[in-house]
């Protein structure tokens, strides 16, 4: 009997020791689902990933939820897009989390915009210009080229936090980058030679336009975040007719009302487009999201 108890205790101790020596997954919290997709693919089973935004909402307008604070409080790594994309919720939640590991400037805080070249950085700042982002346009996730850099940043930071699994992170990142490179070629081919000029609801697309050669010619919002008045809408319609603009791109979370009205008045094709992963049903991961965007711009073959 004694022997059996001793044996049971010993096996219990061995199993406890074994479980304690297994590295716990790196707890990663990200702001938008695009980053969650990358973190999951790079980290595999060595990470657990929590995304604050669901993807269907305006990324500037995410409802602060209590689970976000508790997840941040326990996180090893907090990844943001930066450029003030998340200014409405991330700084307050980060402060409330009191987690010193992931505060700005600490190794557990990764601002992915650090590594990308930024467009539309304002030369002067004035609130009369609407919801201006002081560091530049934050929607660089619409450019898979810039997101290659983000993949590298995430892999490098995960490797710092969990050096034992660095090789796996690097290998996964390389694989993901190679897949993205192949898709970039495909997406470029799909949009090549189409001479697409378009009006979008919000200025989301400068990075996408730069990568794929499409041309944004205006926005339904007269200034970022500012809803248009009737006179502006009339002027926009007149301008679209005069310049023969045949495409209106409505970011999926904006109302249909005005874009439909403008489309009816101009005869332009109206498409509703996700601006991040899970923005629409088909945008199940980053590649699928970009597929949806490119297909919407390209139109039916």
């Amino acid at each position: 009997m004694k022997k059996r108890i001793l044996l049971t205790l010993a096996s219990l101790l061995v199993s406890l020791y074994a479980s304690s020596t297994q590295a716990a997954p790196v707890k990663v919290v990200v702001t938008i689902p695009d980053l969650a997709d990358f973190a999951n693919r790079i980290g595999g089973d060595k990470v657990t990933v929590y995304a604050m935004a669901s993807g269907v909402e305006d990324p500037h307008n995410v409802l602060m939820r209590p689970s976000m604070v508790t997840k941040l409080a326990q996180a090893d790594l907090f990844i943001v897009m930066g450029l003030d994309l998340e200014h409405a919720y991330a700084p307050a939640l980060l402060a409330e989390s009191r987690n010193q590991k992931i505060q700005v400037g600490k190794p557990g805080y990764l601002d992915c915009s650090r590594g990308v070249s930024v467009r539309e950085a304002p030369t002067s700042l004035d609130r009369s210009e609407g919801d201006v982002h002081p560091h530049g346009n934050p929607h660089y996730n619409t450019d898979p080229g810039r997101m290659r850099v983000v993949i590298g940043e995430i892999a490098a930071r995960l490797s710092e936090i969990d050096p034992a699994d660095a090789a796996q992170f690097q290998a996964n990142a390389k694989q993901l980058t190679a897949k993205l490179d192949a898709k970039i070629v495909e997406w470029k081919q799909k949009l090549a030679g189409k001479n697409i000029r378009f009006v979008s609801y919000h200025p989301v697309w400068p990075y996408f336009a730069e990568r794929f050669g499409v041309q944004p010619v205006g926005t339904i919002q007269p200034k970022p975040g500012i809803e248009p008045g009737p006179r502006y809408v009339d002027e926009l319609i007149a301008r679209m007719k005069a310049d023969n603009i045949r495409l209106i791109v409505k970011e999926s979370f904006y109302s249909d009302r005005l874009p439909k009205q403008i489309a009816a008045a101009t005869g332009a094709r109206l498409v509703s487009v996700p601006i991040q992963v899970h923005g629409t049903k088909e945008a199940t991961d980053y590649i699928a999201f970009m597929d949806a965007v490119v297909n919407a711009f390209a139109g039916k073959e």
């Binding site: 909402e57 326990q74 307050a92 650090r114 590594g115 990308v116 990568r211």
Partner: protein
């Protein structure tokens, strides 16, 4: 022309090479991946080794120049708010143009251990029934000035100074940030306006999966103004200038007010978040004051892809105050005891409010609110009608306030609001003019500068 074309061509080449280098410098983490730049990079055949070295030196110089920190970059964040109110009371036949808040907030990290903030405010808190003199000017004061730790272990945070205590849901919110124009009467009367306090506050984010925040504090008082329980009413129902209770000549430790708040939140799924909170405060010695409250708020985002947001919430509050009655209250009398045969007494109040509002898109947000306030306060009586108070009695009042309001958010920083109150009491709302009143408000609020959203359950 040819020379110019050549020069432009050469400059273009240098620019291209520099851009490649710049991208490389901006993406140091990608080196491990064999150079994952923004695009599958193609080497620039025009960039010779010599010119690259020169450009490398230029870029190094540029980078070191960028590293020179200007002293101004350490300046604290500054923001300001202007809250202008037009109010009208029908029974008082009174219109006020009030600059309720002209507030400047300065905040910054102090070092790796603490941050601090100062709020200067030129404030005029006025009920629509009270007249603002045409020569009355708003004067600037320090509303808050506090130091807060940033680096305590175990999820602890300590605050010291003059601040709005983390007590109740709505009373720690600055007036211009309220979801309605006026602070609910129950909060104003039971707590005494905003949660203004001086002292220490410690709060703890309990390290567990469920959100639970516990706060405890020691302060000299909670409330910016006299609460109804300290108020002494004149025989005609107007408010006497002095407090009903003796404040004491000194403040021993026992007289400090201790308070606590527990706040928790539940993710109910489908865009619903439930906030719950409970508070208790107690001060003793000369004036024993107790306040207890419980609150709830439900936020519901019916469709995360839209800006619509439903919000409902409310608080219930109770307060009791007892102690030595102020003997200097009665200007000509030696003491209340000799005049009224009473040296101690107590007053109580209870009440609460509920509200519901719905944000349609980004712009419009209508809402309704109901407030109930019961008070049992001290009143001087003049039973022989000779113009002098001759006894101490009670003024019991039950006031219902029904409000509807409409907010127009022109932008995140510019907001207009209309509100209509119907007030119905068991005693006169405006002394001598009846037990009900209709009050109207127009509010225009703007925010300037760095605006930060707090997560304050």
């Amino acid at each position: 022309m040819e020379a110019l074309t050549k020069t432009v061509g050469s400059l273009q080449q240098q620019l291209d090479s520099q851009k490649q280098l710049w991208d490389g410098f901006h993406a140091p983490a990608t080196a491990a991946l064999g150079g994952a730049t923004e695009a599958p990079a193609e080497p620039n055949p025009n960039a010779s080794a010599g010119s690259l070295d020169q450009i490398q030196r230029d870029v190094d110089e540029l980078k070191s120049a960028q590293r020179q920190v200007k002293s101004g970059l350490f300046n604290p964040d500054i923001s300001a708010a202007v809250d202008f109110i037009t109010s009208y009371s029908r029974k008082a036949n009174n219109v006020n143009f009030t600059l309720r808040d002209a507030e400047v907030m300065i905040q910054s990290n102090v070092d790796q251990y603490a941050r601090a903030y100062i709020v200067f405010n030129a404030e005029t808190e006025l009920a629509p029934t009270e007249k603002l003199g045409i020569f009355d000017k708003t004067s600037l004061g320090v509303e808050e000035a506090a130091i807060q730790t940033t680096n305590l272990p175990w999820g602890l945070q300590l605050k010291a100074g003059q601040f709005f205590a983390d007590f109740t849901r709505m009373d720690k919110i600055h007036s211009h940030d309220l979801p309605f124009v006026d602070r609910p009467r129950s909060l104003t009367e039971i707590i005494g306006g905003e949660d203004a306090s001086r002292g220490f506050e410690l709060n703890w984010l309990v390290p567990m999966d469920h959100y639970l925040r516990l706060t405890g504090g020691v302060v000299d008082n909670i409330g910016a103004d006299l609460p109804i329980t300290s108020t002494l009413f004149n025989p005609d129902g107007s408010v006497h200038s002095a407090s009903a209770f003796n404040d004491g000549a000194n403040r021993p430790f026992q007289s400090l007010m201790g308070y606590g708040r527990a706040a928790t939140l539940f993710d109910l799924g489908s865009g619903k978040v439930l906030h719950l909170g409970a508070d208790y405060a107690k001060g003793s010695q000369d004036t024993r004051r107790q306040i207890a409250s419980a609150d709830a708020k439900l936020e519901w985002q019916p469709d995360p892809a839209k800006y619509d947001l439903f919000e409902t919430g409310g608080e219930v509050l109770w307060s009791k105050q007892s102690g030595q009655l102020a003997d200097q209250t009665l200007w000509q009398s030696p003491s209340i005891e000799s005049l009224f045969n009473q040296s101690t007494g107590n007053a109580s109040a209870a009440g609460g409010y509920v509200y519901a509002q719905y944000r349609f898109g980004k712009l419009w947000q209508p809402g309704v609110r109901v407030d109930y306030t019961h008070s049992n306060a001290f009143q001087l009586l003049d039973s022989d009608n000779n113009g002098d108070a001759d006894s101490l009695g009670r003024l019991t009042n039950n006031v219902w306030t029904y409000s509807s309001y409409l907010t127009l958010n022109l932008s995140e920083f510019n907001r207009l609001r209309l509100q209509l109150n119907y007030v119905n009491g068991s005693e006169d709302i405006v002394p001598g003019k009846g037990r009900n009143d209709i009050q109207a408000f127009f509010q225009w609020t703007v925010i300037l500068g760095a605006h930060k959203h707090d997560f304050a359950p």
